[in-house]
């Protein structure tokens, strides 16, 4: 009887350890699967072909530093500060080429494969053979947007945007043409603020 109870205890202990390991692995895998940061380093090779390159990498520490240096007294900076406060990173990669056909779908596949993760939801998929396409993805965590990804392709341009953290899409869309951010002249953008 004693031997039986000892054997059962051993089996239970080993199973408990295995369960703990599995739980930890599962938690790690879930955390990784729901990471709103997407890797864009695969696109770096396109920089050699591009005539203009924009590469912005603002991680959490740099974001905190920048946010602290945005003044709370200036109204415009205050708005930007409110918009970016809580964000954990902004990453933008944009390549503009002299001619068409400088990039292929294979270049974008590495980005799209990450965005196929069920944690990401595509909210806009606007495709046009003439003008290219724009895809907007968001990641929700606890009923709140925890990440944003934009993949915009044109014949001579490719842009990948990744924002990590709670994003206010409405405020972000209204930003163009406001205070320090000039209107890039894209049709369909919001009307300019009237003074």
């Amino acid at each position: 009887m004693k031997l039986l109870s000892q054997t059962l205890l051993k089996i239970a202990s080993v199973k408990l350890a295995a369960l703990a390991v599995l739980l930890m692995l599962g938690a790690t895998a879930t955390a990784l699967a729901q990471d709103p940061r997407i890797q864009t380093s695969q696109l770096d090779a396109l920089a050699a072909k591009a005539s203009e390159t924009v590469d912005v990498n603002i991680d959490e520490s740099l974001m905190a530093l920048t946010t602290k240096f945005l003044s709370s007294k200036d109204e415009d900076e205050k708005k930007v500060k409110e918009l970016v406060s809580g964000l954990k990173g902004i990453y933008v990669k944009s390549f503009e080429f002299e001619s068409e056909g400088q990039y292929t779908d294979a270049d974008l596949e590495s980005i799209r494969s990450q965005l196929r993760n069920p944690a990401w939801s595509r909210i806009i998929n606007a495709r046009s053979k003439k003008d290219g396409s724009v895809e907007v993805y968001v990641m929700h965590t606890g009923g709140q947007i925890s990440g944003l990804a934009v993949l915009a392709t044109e014949l001579k341009e490719i842009t990948v945007i990744n924002i990590v953290g709670p994003v206010d899409l409405e405020k972000l869309t209204q930003l163009e043409g406001e205070f320090g951010i000039p209107d890039l002249g894209l049709e369909g953008s919001k009307p300019k603020r009237k003074n």
Binding site: A20, V56, A64, I90, L172, G188
Partner: protein
């Protein structure tokens, strides 16, 4: 003959008859092998069964210890990550709070600006580490502080400011691009979803 055989048989059976010399001889020879009751003596060097391994003997305590160790390791990693994520926000000071204005030569300023515009990852780590935090009030009051150390700290503050300004420009650029692309997506989505609505619109006035 029969009586002799019977007497022999009796002796052979229960030792009551006339003893037979041959049987007696056999008794003497086989008597040495007779059962003699004595306690069982097990040799000290004798090992019964297989020797149990350490892990087999202590499987349960080891499993529990491994579980606890892994949980502690996970907790430690999580706390470490939390601490790392929190520390940079505590280092940086708000522009609204008074800052120490460094007194440096134009060359130093230029060098600082160049360094700040292209911050190296290693340099950034050094600046953000808790060992290099600058306390302006302490700098102003502690007269015994080494002058070289104070100058170095002031340069670090300037570098941080330059780095923050460069990051601010980058942030505005990123927001500009993001806003433009979101507007483009919105416009394209609207034109795709409601083409008739747009085509049927008439200019008023």
């Amino acid at each position: 003959m029969n009586s002799k055989q019977n007497s022999d048989a009796d002796y052979l059976w229960d030792k009551t008859g006339e003893p037979d010399p041959e049987i007696q001889q056999l008794e003497e020879i086989l008597g040495t092998l007779r059962y003699q009751p004595r306690p069982l003596e097990i040799p000290a060097g004798l090992h019964v069964g297989r020797e149990r391994s350490f892990f087999r003997s202590y499987a349960a305590p080891l499993a529990i210890a491994a579980t606890v160790a892994m949980l502690l390791l996970g907790l430690g990693l999580w706390l470490g990550l939390q601490r790392l994520q929190r520390s940079p926000q505590q280092i940086v000071k708000s522009p609204d709070t008074p800052q120490v204005q460094p007194v440096s030569s134009p060359d130093e300023k230029q060098n600082s600006a160049v360094a700040a515009s292209t911050p190296a990852p290693e340099q950034k780590r050094i600046e953000e580490s808790p060992r290099h935090r600058v306390n302006p009030s302490l700098l102003a009051q502690n007269s015994k502080r080494d002058r070289n150390t104070a100058v170095k700290d002031q340069q670090l503050t300037l570098k941080q400011q330059q780095e923050a300004r460069a990051a601010k420009d980058q942030l505005m650029l990123a927001l500009r691009v993001t806003s433009a692309k979101l507007n483009l997506a919105q416009k394209k989505a609207q034109s795709t979803n409601a083409p008739d609505l747009i085509h049927n619109q008439h200019k008023i006035g």
